[in-house]
């Protein structure tokens, strides 16, 4: 590993009078309009005074401090870190697409709108839903749209008491947080020892106040909810609706469709299943799909194809019952274009292979790691596209934690799996290899895990003090939160 070990702050490159002048427009003439004096800025902001080379070198060096899919195996459970094909980016950055103003007319956007319309149609086809809207900007934003639609549906029926959203114990944190943002109360139901929702608990929870249930399937425990039809029947008979959190859609793409499982609303993380880049935290896109009864409530805008194959955005006049507008414009259009290109390259057969090979890779990796002596959280169950190891035994026997294993993996050139989620399982690693990784990469990961297990037994210090080879060692998170240092003030401490 030859990572550069550190890089100073961009501000430390600054020298008064330096600048990337080729990037600047000319200065304005003396008679140019000026800001009224009372509104004028008196002191310049602290922005770098650096050359273009300074800036390029600095951020290139910073990039080299990162792990990424392009450089490392990144089996981060629940995040679907699959390869992001380069053509998707190239197409989205074609100058006409990149330069198109969001409020430009439809006549200067028929090509773009055709892509958006066809994306809606393909997402309908793979999800089994009746209609799709593309504007939510991320998964949690799609969740908001979904729960807001469920709430609007009950209100439109005069059913004003329904304000409880049921979530399984192991749900993503965004689920209960979304319920709160929609003015609902999150109510947890237990999960049984086999990983499936406890039906008796569900029956007890469903009632006259139930607005709906939010589920991922396969669940966050990495297993398929086998009694999903019974879950749907209980919730629907109780007057609630079903929301599908699409975080784990990759597992079942082309094999089972949420619409066929009787879900009423779904969001799809295009930055997971449809391979748009995660960008170090975003952007995402959280397209939503709905069953027939929620169609009137979809968020704005939506692309429609009219007679003569002309495309246009539908707005308030077309969808008067809509939950409204959720973004400044039409959503993360550049992300949507990337997802469109990805789906067209895979096509109908490629879509089905996604679920198949993601599942093959997860089950293979799970089997290999169990053979090494690691414990699966649900050994009696099939893994979906991801699986959970619990390191309870190793932690008791050798005093090493899941976090220690994760940090040691970084030393060995692998991004760590998700740690300590779901919280239901102690000392857990949630591992999602994705379908784009080869058997050879998975085998190398197994070799690294074998080494780590050996070190845990023989020289646990290697784990407890890991990582040893990265730009920084373990960081003091307590100090970070207690002595807040959230921006640079021009003087090094």
């Amino acid at each position: 590993m030859s990572l550069p070990m550190r890089e100073q702050l961009i501000f430390q490159y600054s020298r008064a009078g330096r600048g990337a002048r080729a990037q600047w427009p000319p200065a304005v003439p003396a008679d140019a309009p000026v800001v009224p004096e009372a509104l004028r800025r008196q002191q310049r902001p602290l922005l770098p005074e650096a050359s273009e080379l300074d800036v390029v070198r600095h951020y290139t060096r910073l990039s080299q401090l990162n792990f990424s899919i392009d450089t490392h195996f990144y089996p981060l459970g629940s995040c679907t870190m699959k390869y992001n094909p380069k053509a998707c980016n190239a197409a989205a950055l074609l100058p006409q697409f990149a330069g198109r103003h969001p409020l430009a007319s439809a006549s200067h956007g028929q090509g773009f709108l055709a892509c958006m319309f066809e994306l809606q149609e393909m997402l309908k086809a793979v999800s089994g839903m009746r209609a799709v809207a593309l504007s939510p900007l991320a998964g949690a934003h799609g969740e908001f749209a979904g729960v807001a639609m469920i709430r609007a549906y009950h209100r439109a029926r005069g059913d004003l008491e329904r304000n409880e959203i049921i979530v399984p114990q192991a749900a993503h944190g965004t689920n209960p947080a979304t319920a709160s943002m929609c003015g609902c109360i999150a109510r947890e139901v237990a999960v049984g020892p086999d990983g499936d929702v406890d039906l008796a608990g569900l029956r007890a929870a469903v009632g006259a106040r139930t607005a709906g249930i939010m589920l991922t399937n396969p669940s966050t425990l990495g297993v398929f909810e086998r009694r999903i039809e019974e879950v749907a029947r209980i919730v629907h008979e109780g007057g609630g609706l079903l929301y599908y959190d699409g975080a784990n859609l990759n597992a079942i793409l082309g094999k089972v469709r949420p619409g066929d499982m009787a879900f009423d609303a779904i969001h799809m993380n295009l930055h997971k299943t449809f391979s748009t880049p995660h960008g170090g935290g975003g952007p995402g896109a959280g397209a939503v799909g709905v069953s027939a009864r929620l169609m009137p409530f979809l968020p704005l805008p939506i692309v429609a194809r009219e007679d003569g194959a002309q495309y246009r955005w539908l707005g308030e006049r077309d969808l008067p019952q809509s939950i409204g507008r959720l973004a400044s414009f039409a959503g993360n259009a550049g992300v949507l274009l990337r997802a469109y290109v990805y789906m067209r390259m895979l096509g109908r057969e490629g879509m089905q292979r996604v679920g198949e090979y993601a599942t093959l890779n997860a089950n293979y990796l799970s089997a290999q790691l169990q053979q090494l002596g690691f414990d699966a959280a649900y050994p009696q169950r099939r893994a979906s596209h991801e699986f959970i190891l619990t390191l309870k035994k190793q932690s008791q026997e050798y005093g090493v934690t899941a976090m220690d294993v994760a940090k040691r993996l970084l030393d060995l050139g692998f991004h760590a799996p998700t740690t300590y989620f779901p919280t239901l399982i102690s000392e857990c690693l949630l591992i999602e290899p994705t379908e784009t990784e080869s058997k050879q990469t998975l085998d190398a990961f197994v070799t690294a895990m074998a080494q780590i297990l050996r070190e845990a037994q023989q020289e646990p210090e290697q784990l407890l003090r890991a990582p040893h080879t990265l730009p920084v060692r373990r960081l003091d998170d307590v100090r970070a939160a207690r002595e807040l240092d959230l921006s640079y003030h021009g003087v090094e401490r």
Binding site: H101, S328, G347, T436, L486
Partner: protein, 457 residues
């Protein structure tokens, strides 16, 4: 198989390890009644060459009109170094920096971004980005309701001259939590929100006042007086600002006696392509006293085991993955890559470059306004200083005029008749530093040809 590397031999060996007869067998826990055999409604796959041919053809179909629309998304020059750096795989294909040791590049960039934004807005802290300008306003409203413990009303004063889409998003996002919005009218002659518009609320409980600077019409507001009125009533001030304009304008942290409490806006002008509306990034800055009510990720500088500096996500107890139903927001994925573009943009422009962009944009808009109002049937609507957008009134409906301009390859601005019917036949136009004098002449010539023709028709 596209993007799947497995050979037939790999698959055989892997199934043998699993102990399964086929890939199909791995789905045996899924009820057979739910399974789909195929996806006939998805087209067959295309090669990279074929899809690029298709995308290039569609892009050509859309063309590259000469565009004078602003209204929340602005065409600025994007230095080549911005996207050549941002699209490096190490940034582009990384995840959220939860494993700090393996994500110092992203984390340090966020820290630098936070520093630049806090300084630009005159505030103490910035988060690591929200989705876009509209959702940032909605989050600011919810944050103000949490942060202002003196106010019990959850009542927000929202000016009518705030971007109409931002108002709509705030309503759709915050309305579910019992927030009440009161609309403040603007002065018909000047386009700004005068202190008289606040008089009906004097002595009443309201939670926060939203101030847009410049406002949707491009007009400058008297921010000091508005800020002081809100603070005198125990309300917080939410500033909604254009980041480019802050190179020239008094930062919100210095508005009135005490400064704004929360500053939000659309980061798109900083290095983000227009791209039909996204991805952009929303920014949010605040004072240290409110930091625990702020939504979104925040990066802090700390030390590692050897006492050397390093960066990490901090104050995570505000966030959904820790606090669940009691989190400050449900936001998880943000707009990290666009924030990175913004950071590199700010680094290249510096304070002086940004001043030039702002000043030249202001100048070009004034040139455009003069050129267009020299034509019979076009006049200014508001007699007040403006930034890089201006409202013009036509002597006839705007839509057919814009259609005729479009036929000449010009997107001539935004028709305001749906958004602000009270303004009659009004058009919002924008010219940034990317519009040359020749571009402005082209537009003015086309307008002078189109208007008489439209009259004759």
């Amino acid at each position: 198989m596209p993007f799947i590397p497995h050979t037939e031999q790999d698959v055989r060996e892997m199934l043998a390890v699993i102990g399964a007869p086929s890939i199909e067998a791995l789905f045996d826990e899924i009820p057979a009644s739910l399974r789909v055999a195929s996806l006939p409604d998805v087209p067959v796959g295309l090669s990279e060459f074929e899809i690029m041919q298709l995308m290039s053809a569609r892009a050509r179909q859309d063309g590259q009109p000469l565009c004078f629309i602003g209204a929340g998304a602005y065409e600025h020059h994007i230095p080549a170094a911005v996207w050549s750096t941002v699209t490096r795989g190490e940034f582009y294909s990384a995840y959220t920096p939860y494993q700090a040791e393996a994500s110092q590049g992203t984390l340090q960039t966020i820290y630098e971004y936070q520093t630049m934004m806090a300084s630009l807005t005159g505030m103490q802290v910035s988060n690591a980005s929200l989705y876009d300008g509209a959702t940032a306003v909605a989050e600011a409203v919810l944050m103000a309701v949490r942060a202002n413990r003196r106010s019990k009303s959850a009542r927000i004063l929202m000016p009518r001259n705030l971007h109409p889409h931002y108002r709509a998003v705030a309503l759709a996002s915050a309305g579910n939590q019992g927030v009440k919005f009161e609309e403040l009218p603007y002065e018909r002659g000047s386009g700004h929100t005068s202190i008289e518009a606040l008089a009906p609320f004097a002595g009443q409980d309201f939670t926060a006042l939203v101030i847009a600077q410049p406002n949707f019409f491009g007009v400058f507001e008297e921010v000091d007086a508005l800020t002081d009125f809100a603070h005198a009533h125990g309300a917080l001030v939410i500033a909604v600002v254009n980041p480019t304009s802050l190179a020239l304008l008094k930062p919100p942290g210095q508005w009135g006696q005490k400064g704004a409490n929360i500053v939000v806006g659309e980061g798109q002008p900083f290095g983000c392509p227009l791209s039909s509306g996204g991805p952009y990034f929303g920014f949010m800055c605040t004072r240290m006293e409110h930091v625990r009510q702020m939504p979104g990720r925040i990066v802090g500088r700390t030390v590692d085991l050897d006492g050397r500096p390093g960066f990490t996500l901090t104050l995570q107890a505000r966030e959904q993955h820790i606090r669940r139903a009691k989190a400050t927001s449900n936001i998880c994925t943000n707009q990290g890559l666009l924030m990175m573009a913004g950071t590199i943009y700010m680094s290249l422009m510096g304070a002086e470059g940004l001043e030039r962009v702002a000043a030249l944009s202001m100048t070009r808009t004034e040139q455009l306004a003069r050129a267009l109002t020299a034509i019979a049937g076009v006049r200014r609507v508001f007699a007040r200083a403006n930034f890089h957008e201006i409202v013009l009134a036509l002597d006839r409906p705007v839509a057919p005029v814009l259609a005729a301009l479009r036929a000449r390859g010009i997107e001539g601005g935004l028709d305001l008749s749906d958004y602000f019917p009270e303004l009659g036949c009004a058009l919002l136009v924008c010219a940034t530093e990317t519009k040359t004098t020749a571009d402005i002449d082209t537009y003015a010539r086309a307008m002078s040809e189109v208007l008489p023709a439209a009259r004759a028709a």
